[in-house]
């Protein structure tokens, strides 16, 4: 579904990714781990199409209608309509735009793209209220401005709510576990697990192994200095948790 080959990218003058390869099939859950500054968040932002990053080499192929196309050629909004979803590490506050307005605008743009009927406000409200129960967000959050005045946990739940509404094919969760208390973590993990299916894939980006206790990955990769230096199954995460990153980063110096 996603094939990243030899990806190099920089922000400003600084090279952050230095030839990254990654392949993800439908139905799989991948976890990317790595120390701070290894390029984890950069990868997620590049996949989502953030304008601050410049790709200098490599390709990203993403299957649309079972055909691989170049993801990097698509604008951020088009990628989203094609089913790429990024749960932000720091969700952005958008004062004055109601959550409901925002979700419906996003949902209907995806519907239009897929040639499916759009929902009117009443229909959509019912639909989204059901989804909010999934992440235990009170429906009153729908009337509030997007993320404005939300606590850290509420913001993350709101990200998962958006994911539930848009049902993406490739969901990228950027440090979704950071700053979450254990209850919120369970709610978020539960929301993500409900979305797992044979047709879609999930890419978890995390510093700690903790999230992986709740969302079981099929593959674990270690990112260091902009490259994947080690891949394995779930046990790699456990090993990292016990031995720290020094073991892996040191091994490659």
């Amino acid at each position: 579904m996603l094939k990243v080959s030899g990806l190099k990218a920089c922000i400003g003058d600084k090279e952050v990714l230095r030839g990254l390869d990654l392949s993800i099939q439908a139905g799989e859950v991948h976890a990317i781990m790595g120390p701070n500054g290894s390029g984890k968040s950069t990868l997620s932002k590049i996949l989502a199409g953030h304008p601050d990053y410049t790709v200098t080499a490599g390709t990203v192929e993403y299957d649309v209608n079972f055909k691989p196309i170049n993801l990097l050629d698509m604008s951020a909004d088009l990628r989203a309509r094609e089913g790429v979803f990024l749960a932000f590490q720091y969700p952005v506050e958008v004062p004055g735009v109601a959550n409901l307005t925002f979700l419906r605008a996003a949902f209907n743009s995806v519907c239009r793209h897929q040639g499916v009927a759009e929902m009117n406000e009443a229909e959509f409200r019912l639909f989204v209220e059901k989804k909010s129960a999934l992440v235990e967000l009170h429906p009153s959050f729908l009337e509030r401005s997007v993320n404005e005045g939300f606590s850290g946990g509420e913001k993350k739940r709101n990200e998962i709510l958006q994911m539930a509404v848009l049902s993406p094919r490739l969901a990228i969760l950027d440090e979704t576990d950071s700053g979450l208390d254990i209850d919120s973590l369970k709610v978020v993990a539960n929301g993500v697990n409900k979305l797992r299916s044979a047709n879609n894939a999930i890419l978890l980006i995390t510093h700690y192994q903790r999230l992986l206790d709740y969302i079981q990955p099929d593959f674990v990769h270690v990112l260091h200095k902009g490259q994947i230096v080690q891949s394995g199954d779930k046990s790699l995460a456990t090993k990292l948790e016990k031995q720290g990153y020094d073991w892996i980063t040191g091994a490659n110096v």
């Binding site: 989502a48 604008s75 004055g96 735009v97 996003a106």
Partner: protein
């Protein structure tokens, strides 16, 4: 012929059959004009705008219009369910027997004009030759909001008006005032005096939607007695060149001024919004909130001032101005002033200028929303703060509807 001589000649025609009050009003304004002359660039309040709009060409006074144009009729019909409409055609009240005029409306009375503040030569000139406009003396609270529509017709001509609103003690009034025209190049000047007696309340929206070639100038002077309240929302959405001055003279204890506004300016238009709230007495409050969206080569000016006089203790006053620039060549000039001579007061202001937040745009786009739609959502959110402040649902709906109508078109041509 020069401007002054021209003005005097037009004035002579006007006072030929005028009442003694009207003659006194006009002559007083003329004398003031002769003394002041037109302000030049050195005048602080004309730093960003030029008074040449009056003299750059000759502006003959517009001719009376008898018939309500169909475009205007359609507009009035749309809103007459919610409002009691008043129509002014080229500055004259249109008296339509089918539609009775609201209570309290008087015609041809000039006595109120004598205490108009003739701040500079432009105000004096505009007052000297003003047409009668409207005059309200509201002794009881009207049942429905009043809709005042100023309609201009005629190419290359000037419609000057002088208006008056007096709201008696404890009377509550809602007014929507809108400035429209058939298309064209013309000059409109509008001087309005408002007197709010003890405990009077006025909720007022003013919507300037002149044609894109128009020059629009307005000076609104509001006087507040004790416990009086005014909530005024000014929307500048038309004209090639406009200057709008809103002055509030707070003279009564516990009086409250809440003034807000939005400016939408594109192509090479110039919008100069001035606001001055003068607290002459303690225990009074005011807020100013103005927002501007500027694109193309447009220039938006905000000149906001809070004055708190000596002994006006316990005044609380706030002022904010936020501007969005949507193109490289747009310009925002803002000058939020404080002039304070009493120590036990709270006064603050804030101003920002910037473009649409890239992070917000990216966030919306990362959820599949097209860039144009994302920008519209953010722009709508930016101005909603002003619309939502309007308390009366009919007035709020009027403004929200009008803004919704032109906003997508306004944003459509922006290249960010």
């Amino acid at each position: 012929m020069n401007f002054a001589a021209d003005l005097r000649e037009q004035l002579n025609t006007l006072i030929r059959d005028a009442s003694p009050d009207e003659v006194r009003f006009r002559e007083k304004a003329w004398e003031a004009f002769k003394f002041q002359g037109l302000p030049d660039k050195k005048s602080e309040s004309w730093k960003y705008s030029s008074s040449q709009f009056l003299t750059s060409r000759r502006w003959p006074i517009s001719q009376p219009v008898d018939q309500v144009p169909s475009l205007l009729q359609a507009f009035v019909d749309l809103w007459k369910q919610d409002f009691d409409p008043v129509i002014l055609l080229n500055g004259h009240l249109h008296n339509d027997s089918a539609q009775p005029l609201p209570e309290g409306l008087r015609v041809g009375d000039w006595s109120h004009g004598l205490n108009l503040d003739l701040e500079d030569g432009v105000v004096s000139a505009a007052a000297a030759i003003a047409k009668s406009g409207y005059a309200f003396e509201l002794r009881t609270s009207p049942l429905r909001p009043i809709l005042i529509v100023h309609w201009h017709e005629g190419e290359g001509v000037w419609t000057p008006t002088s208006n008056y609103i007096r709201v008696d003690s404890r009377v509550h009034v809602k007014v929507a005032e809108v400035f429209l025209s058939s298309t064209g190049v013309y000059l409109r000047s509008d001087v309005t005096k408002v007197e709010l007696l003890d405990g009077a309340e006025l909720e007022w929206v003013r919507l300037q939607q002149e044609s894109s070639g128009a020059t629009s100038w307005a000076d609104v002077q509001t006087h507040l007695a004790a416990d009086a309240q005014v909530a005024l929302t000014q929307i500048n959405a038309g004209a090639e060149w406009s200057r709008n001055t809103l002055k509030f003279d707070v003279r009564g204890a516990r009086a409250n001024v809440d003034v807000s506004g939005m400016t939408f300016a594109g192509s090479s238009s110039h919008v100069d919004q001035r606001v001055q709230v003068s607290h002459h007495i303690g225990q009074t409050q005011s807020t100013q909130l103005f927002k501007g969206i500027l694109k193309d080569r447009a220039r938006g000016v905000l000149n906001g001032k809070i004055y708190i006089g000596p002994k006006a203790q316990k005044v609380v006053s706030r002022q904010a101005n936020h501007n969005l620039l949507l193109s490289r060549t747009a310009e925002a000039d803002t000058k939020p002033e404080l002039e304070i001579y009493a120590d036990d007061v709270k006064a603050n202001h804030g101003a920002t200028v910037g473009r649409m937040d890239d992070e917000k745009l990216f966030y919306l786009m990362s959820r599949g929303i097209q860039p144009t739609e994302a920008k519209r959502l953010l722009a709508q959110a930016f101005v909603d703060e002003i619309t939502m402040k309007i308390g009366h649902p009919t007035l709020r709906n009027f403004v929200a509807t009008r803004v919704r109508e032109f906003l997508p078109e306004f944003l459509a041509e922006v290249h960010v």
